[in-house]
Symmetry: C2
């Protein structure tokens, strides 16, 4: 049970603990003979350094914290995967925290992470300005925001800019003859919650279209809220002819609501979503979505954070999102050969 420590290695190799530590850390000079004996002892004893002790002494854990808003959301799942991958390549470990879109759980994880003395924190804030996050940032904890961010703190942000893609989407919808466009927004306290609505409204304005309050549903990025918002739209005197969900989970909820009413997409009503995921190829119908360069975002975020940790100057990064047209908004009017649609016969792999 008593796991082997550096002392045991030292004893077996016939050297002091200092020497063992030196060979293990490729430090100063150690004679080839001693080094060999130490290495042998390490091997023979199956010695593994105690990370806790090491970190306590050196004051660095080579560990990064990642707090995401919702693990059940494929977008964040893919983000988490790329973050871990890049971190591992850079010699860091990742500890994840899942906030489940709940600020108090988010704070719980952040506190735990801080208590563990992680070297840096990657956050996609669930709310607009947790005092905990703000304090940590001001206290000097290396931090970078991914996807969502909080204004007013000097923390680099790595995110996708969807405005051009949203404009493309609106153009696409307008071209298909849709005029009454509604959106299911995320919480106004999150940047992605408000920005996507703003981008949508701006794009509509370019086509002389208005975005009435009744056409802005309030969601929370989870499926159930998408369902509720959609039902509300359908109960309106003049329901919209397009519903644009600000994330994939709410789009799923919208699909649920539409199916429950027996409505057909896109014939009765069109649907589009922010965030593209593999499943959207196979839904009935395949859904038109705005795809973020998720893997790139994750990698860039890790690089920014490690830059900050290792004394380099971190840069904020904004990458463009792009529109992926499928069938959920309707076909081009022309009865000829389908043109505007990207062929998806040889679907992309779900693994980069």
């Amino acid at each position: 049970m008593a796991s082997v420590g550096i002392k045991d290695v030292a004893a077996r190799a016939g050297v002091s603990v200092a020497t063992v530590s030196r060979v293990l850390n490729a430090h100063a000079s150690v004679s080839p003979a001693a080094r060999a004996r130490v290495l042998d002892a390490v091997e023979a004893l199956g010695y593994r350094p105690n990370t806790l002790a090491r970190s306590l002494r050196t004051d660095q854990t080579r560990t990064l914290g990642l707090v995401i808003s919702d693990v059940l959301n494929p977008y964040f799942t893919e983000l988490a995967r790329s973050v871990e991958e890049e971190a591992r390549a850079l010699g860091y470990s990742i500890i994840f925290g899942n906030a489940d879109e709940r600020p108090e759980i988010q704070d719980h994880h952040i506190r735990t992470l801080l208590d563990r003395r992680i070297d840096g924190l990657l956050v996609s804030p669930t709310d607009g300005g947790s005092p905990l996050v703000l304090d940590a940032a001001r206290a000097g904890t290396p931090m970078v925001f991914v996807d969502r961010w909080i204004a007013g703190v000097d923390v680099p942000v790595v995110r996708a800019d969807g405005s051009a893609a949203v404009r493309d989407l609106v153009a696409h919808l307008h071209g298909l003859g849709h005029r009454r466009l509604a959106i299911i927004a995320g919480p106004a306290t999150t940047t992605t919650g408000s920005e996507r609505v703003a981008a949508f409204r701006d794009a509509l304005a370019e086509y002389g279209l208005d975005l009435p309050d009744a056409y802005v549903g309030q969601g929370d990025f989870q499926a159930a809220s998408g369902r509720r918002a959609t039902e509300r739209f359908l109960d309106l005197p003049t329901p919209p002819d397009v519903v644009f969900a600000a994330d994939n989970l709410m789009a799923l909820g919208a699909l649920d609501a539409l199916r429950a009413r027996g409505l057909r997409v896109p014939d009765d009503i069109a649907l589009a979503a922010f965030d593209d995921i593999p499943w959207f190829v196979h839904t009935d119908p395949p859904v038109t979505a705005i795809a973020q360069p998720t893997g790139e975002l994750g990698r860039a975020a890790v690089r920014a954070l490690t830059d900050r940790i290792e004394g380099r100057t971190p840069r904020s990064v904004t990458l463009p999102a792009r529109l992926v047209v499928r069938r959920s908004c309707g076909e081009a009017a022309a009865p000829g050969p389908r043109t505007a649609r990207k062929p998806e016969g040889a679907p992309r792999d779900h693994r980069p």
Copy 2:
């Protein structure tokens, strides 16, 4: 920068570090006056104990490791979520590792976790018998297997038993007139890889049906392999009329392959999957699947592990999976009111 330590608290409260530690840990007796002064000091200084130091001394981290096979798989994602939730309720933290179905990455995570001196390990082994896992188990690391397991070690297993549900599935398929049934298996090195094939074969036998080798596709639980296996089936002189994928990702791949060939489900070929996920309600067509009690599994696994850690006797748990019939295998022949199908008009929430 120099974060506040127990010494600073002690100084401010005018007591010794021992007393501070005592109030923080609700230990022995401390006078109300001293306790109050300590608490004030903690508050004023914003003191947070250093987990590293504490764990080093006490030899326990109140942290559990969870190594899952693939984060991109919604099944594991849901499992991870329930595991974390239950662990949090029990006062433990979880550190996740994503093996990406690659044994070497799995081992990397296990090693890292062990180096961190986690109190226990939850593993869903990617391969049949990583020496690392075996050694750790034998060395006394508290461990429990979830979903998949490794034979020959005395480690509790928490999993779902799908055999009854597979039998139900075969009955359903047989009733629909299908006779040529194929399966896309997972790696034979995993228990879920081989067990599901065995259950399928047994169930077929009950109906006097055979499972020829050509109808056993070899997959690796990832989408691309489902696609490849399906293509191979379709190239057979007599292709199967049903494809049963042993997990949801391979089912996705199968759907891809079917769509690429222009085949219609279930008219041209039927499809079923192991693991039910919210998206299966919305695919084209909705897919018939075997649902595991994922949340229950996660919670049971955590309880088994904490039992082991805290000196109680852990129990293995096996929960039944159940068949969820949708449209991907065809409609019941009788033209009367649809009976066998569970109404899904008010779809379940994607959040328990």
